[in-house]
């Protein structure tokens, strides 16, 4: 059969037109308990997982316009290959953006320079020239660099855009506010405003706590790059992310019923006030699942009783139709005296996720102990974490058992290595980045 290519194109176009309205085009929300059925007659601790799943944006025409500020470190330590790679990556970023997007480029050493003020990406040659002209030298005014980047973002800040600062640094901040706490506070404030900061640490010189905090509190990504060549890969990911955000400014509110006590939020930052838990997410990417994990205490109940546990509301900006939307879900818990039923109803996926998240919390604890010089204690924490993960795997059995056993082995080797001095700087950064990925379910 021979068809004219043009006809084929028209057919494709018409199909896509028909397909568009049919798409769900709303984020999916589901709230699940690790153990939806608990043993009657006593109080329990269980995990509540709230999952958010994005939808697929169809085609490039639908892509959310971006408002990006590239904040590039050009302090003395960037001299040489690092700066060249950073420039290459920035040039790549310029290539990935188009006329609908807004880009600004800020560089900093001891002073801050706005190389390209926020502008539509129309004349790329000027932008490229500004990037190529960067020279390394001086100290690291990281805080000021991010602040100026934020100012550039604000010039065009818009809920209908993806507003993001991408910070690329290899150095410790040493001019201006430079503590992890301060950068975290700045990140939190920017996050509230809808600006997320993605931090990319280069080499082994940077302050990973500071970079992770800045990204974490603003709901951005954080990555540790050992080899400058990885930069291009990360920028590709990062811009892939920026280009495919489907929901922004998500406010997740969980109201627990009387008698239910939220104990802690695992991984994410959030507020627990009485029986109400609120947390935020700056964005959700297309076809990506993000979750919030909580540990809750369920009071004792009688067999066959079912009680409401919580109501979950997520308000967000839908990037497909530019509307403010809400999605809701409810979750309840049942009591039973049959251990069989309890085991059968167990949500294996939630338990696995929760197990990993708990292990992550313990890994953070261990890192803190290691920082305080308590190496043996740190090792003990990791070993008990590995035991915990293995026991959870044994309880679940099946496929999850293998998965968790592998995870447990990983934790064990981490436990073996934590007391050693060799390459600690690099290893610490890798651990920190891994914890960050686990916490934020980052894709890279």
């Amino acid at each position: 059969m021979k068809q004219h290519p043009f006809t084929l194109l028209i057919i494709l176009f018409l199909t896509s037109l028909l397909a568009l309205p049919a798409q769900a085009r709303q984020i999916e929300l589901s709230a699940e308990l690790g153990t939806p059925v608990v043993e009657a007659g006593r109080a329990h601790k269980t995990f509540l997982k709230i999952s958010l799943t994005g939808f697929e944006l169809s085609g490039l025409t639908e892509r959310t316009p971006a408002n990006v500020a590239l904040v590039l470190d050009e302090s003395g330590s960037m001299t040489g290959e690092k700066l060249e790679e950073a420039k290459e990556a920035a040039l790549l970023a310029v290539d990935l953006l188009n006329e609908d997007d807004i880009l600004s480029i800020v560089s900093y050493d001891s002073h801050v320079k706005v190389l390209v003020p926020a502008t539509r990406v129309a004349d790329k040659s000027d932008i490229r020239r500004a990037i190529r002209a960067m020279k390394a030298g001086g100290q690291t005014a990281l805080f000021a660099g991010v602040s100026k980047g934020a100012r550039e973002i604000r010039k065009f800040i818009d809920k209908e855009r993806v507003n993001r600062i991408i910070l690329l640094s290899d150095g410790q901040a040493n001019v201006g506010p430079s503590t992890a706490t301060e950068l975290g506070e700045l990140g939190m404030s920017l996050g509230k405003e809808g600006i997320s900061v993605t931090t990319i640490g280069l080499g082994d010189g940077y302050n990973e706590d500071l970079m992770a905090n800045l990204a974490g509190y603003s709901d951005g990504n954080h990555a540790f790059v050992e080899d400058p060549e990885d930069l291009v890969k990360i920028f590709n990911y990062e811009f892939g992310d920026v280009l495919s955000v489907v929901a922004q400014d998500l406010l997740i509110r969980i109201e627990f019923e009387d008698g239910i006590r939220p104990l802690r939020i695992l991984g994410r930052k959030g507020e627990i006030i009485g029986r109400e838990v609120t947390t935020r997410m700056n964005q959700l990417y297309s076809d990506q699942a993000q979750y919030i994990l909580l540990e809750v205490e369920v009071p004792e109940g009688t067999a066959d009783q079912t009680r409401d546990l919580a109501r979950v509301t997520v308000s967000y900006q839908n990037m497909a139709n530019r509307q403010q939307e809400d999605v809701r879900d409810r979750v309840s818990v049942s009591y039973s005296s049959s251990s069989d039923e309890i085991a059968r109803s167990r949500n294996r996926e939630v338990v696995t996720t929760a197990t990993k998240q708990v292990a992550n919390e313990m890994s953070k604890k261990a890192l803190q102990l290691r920082d305080e010089g308590k190496r043996e204690e740190a090792q003990r924490v990791l070993n008990s974490s590995a035991d915990f993960v293995r026991s959870q795997g044994a309880m679940l059995g099946g496929e999850e058992k293998e998965q968790l056993e592998a995870f447990s082995a990983e934790v064990e080797s981490e436990a073996d290595a934590i007391t050693l001095d060799e390459d600690w700087d690099m290893r610490r950064k890798a651990i920190k980045a891994k914890q960050y990925r686990q916490d934020t379910q980052q894709t890279y």
């Binding site: 002073h111 706005v114 991010v146 602040s147 506070e185 509230k192």
Partner: protein, 527 residues
């Protein structure tokens, strides 16, 4: 030679003194100029920093203005207030006090962050009037800044809203090493809302507002209450050890400072002009001095050449004259006793002798003759010299009295001694013939030989006594009128006395003058 050195020094002084004077004046001028420039610089710095301060004040005012506008619309119940907090990107914490000053928010259950906030602001819960007592409003602060136009605008807007708006203001309190800012607002219903700024965000916003200037002539730093640098701009690199100027910010950030360093004003522009002027003046003066110096040395050289010439000529004259004298004397011996011929011959001889002395003088003056030491019988020498003058003296009616008591011989130059006497006696002959007598004495006293020639003429006025020994000097009076003379006789006589280790002085003898030659008996070594 000494004189030439003196001249040189004089010329140098001629250059250096006016230059030094003008230079000093110029320096003083520059000094005051640099004071003016310093003041101007200080003003510029002040203005720059005030501009920064004003920018920050404006930002605070815009924040306050925004809240004053929006807060009245807030439902003042704890639940709603918490929701609002989520949208206030610049606010970290928030509190709400009821009309009775009871804390409505945050109230238990508290998040851990809120708990800390509540603890830190303990003082406010105890006494909410602290808020008001710190500083009533930012408007009163703006009245303090030295930008009257602007503060008037702000105050006006504040006044306009004063009718509707209840009190509001900034409050600053310490949190750890740093400070935190809080905006409080009192509702018409008596509730108080407090909005504590997110400190990192506040700093970040300030950085956003401040310039990215990389001008190289100044550098400004902003430091917070704990002394931590927040931001710097301006590419000036201070010299090692150069101090930053410190300026505090206005309320409520009075514990923050701005630091300034910059290129100091240089008097380069005017200083260069002055230097140029001084330089050219120095060149002109040096040129003039050099010209004068060359002129003078040229004259000296010319004079020396003239003297040389005269000496040469005199030398040439000496031989023929000697011949004339010798043959005249030979003729005198062989001549018959014809008084008229003898008289003529006598005149020829005496005149040639006079000419000989004259030439001898000139030669002595133009060149320093070598000493020929021998034993000289002083009294004999005096007598012999006097003999030469006898015909001339007797012709002029001058009687010669001698009192020669030296009676010794000394080691000296006979020719020079004779020449000294010749000069003294010829002066008597020329200028003191009116006195009618000359007394020549020799004696020894105090290990010295004294030879004096005293005339009875008009004498020498006291004022002239020094000058008569200077070369070419002739007393200008009736005495010298019509009498020819070179003016070097006494000069030579004194020089020669010096050469012989003695001296020649003149004294008043009333009437007349007395010239006394003093010579050491033991000549010793003399120059």
């Amino acid at each position: 030679m000494k004189k030439r050195h003196a001249n040189l020094l004089l010329l140098i002084a001629l250059v250096v003194l006016p230059l030094a004077l003008i230079g000093w004046q110029a320096w003083r001028l520059l000094d005051s100029e640099s004071d003016v420039q310093q003041a101007r610089y200080d003003q510029l710095v002040e203005a720059r920093l005030q501009q920064v301060d004003l920018t920050i004040q404006r930002y605070l005012e815009s924040l306050a203005g925004d809240w004053r506008e929006r807060l009245p619309a807030w439902p003042l119940d704890p639940r709603e207030v918490r929701k609002r907090l989520a949208d206030e990107v610049r606010v970290r914490h928030l509190f709400l006090l009821g009309p009775d000053n009871r804390r409505l928010f945050p109230e238990a259950p508290l998040s851990s962050d809120e708990q800390e906030f509540v603890q830190r602001l303990e003082a406010i819960w105890r006494d909410p009037s602290l808020l008001r007592s710190s500083r009533p409003d930012s408007e009163s602060e703006l009245a303090d800044t030295s930008a009257p136009a602007l503060s008037r605008v702000f105050r006006k807007s504040a006044r306009e809203s004063a009718g509707i708006q209840p009190e509001s203001g900034w409050y600053m309190w310490h949190w750890g090493a740093g400070t935190r800012l809080l905006f409080w607002w009192k509702s018409p219903g008596g509730e108080t809302l407090g909005l504590a700024l997110e400190p990192a965000r506040f700093k970040s916003d300030l950085i956003g507002l401040l310039p990215e200037d990389d001008a190289t002539d100044f550098s400004i730093r902003l430091r917070d209450a704990s002394g931590q640098e927040i931001y710097r701009w301006g590419g000036y690199e201070p010299e090692p050890g150069e101090e930053y100027h410190h300026y505090p910010l206005s309320y409520p950030l009075s514990s923050w400072t701005l630091e300034y360093a910059g290129t100091q004003p240089t008097a380069a522009a005017t200083g260069f002009g002055l230097l140029l002027l001084l330089g050219s003046l120095a060149l002109v003066l040096i040129g003039l001095a050099l010209y004068l110096y060359r002129e003078q040395t040229r004259e000296l050289r010319e004079a020396a050449r003239k003297v040389e010439f005269v000496g040469q000529v005199s030398h040439e004259l000496k031989t023929p004259l000697t011949n004339i004298r010798m043959y005249a004397e030979m003729l005198d011996e062989q001549l018959e006793d014809d008084p008229r011929q003898r008289n003529y011959l006598g005149i020829i001889i005496s005149e040639s002798q006079r000419l000989g002395r004259l030439i001898g003088n000139v030669l002595n003056f133009s060149r320093t003759p070598a000493l020929h030491l021998s034993e000289v019988d002083i009294d004999g020498l005096v007598r012999q010299t006097l003999d030469h003058f006898r015909p001339g003296f007797s012709a002029r009616g001058i009687e010669i009295h001698t009192d020669l008591q030296a009676g010794i011989s000394i080691s000296s130059d006979a020719d020079m001694l004779e020449q000294i006497l010749n000069n003294l006696l010829s002066n008597v002959e020329k200028y003191a013939s009116g006195g009618g007598a000359v007394e020549v004495t020799t004696r020894v006293a105090e290990e010295r030989l004294l030879v004096s020639v005293r005339d009875h003429g008009a004498g020498i006025p006291a004022a002239e006594r020094r000058k008569i020994f200077e070369p070419f000097y002739r007393i200008d009076n009736s005495l010298t009128e019509g009498v020819s003379g070179t003016g070097i006789g006494l000069t030579i006589a004194r020089q020669q006395a010096g050469r012989l280790g003695g001296k020649l002085v003149v004294s008043d003898a009333a009437p007349g003058a007395r010239f006394t030659l003093t010579l050491p008996l033991d000549r010793g070594e003399s120059a």
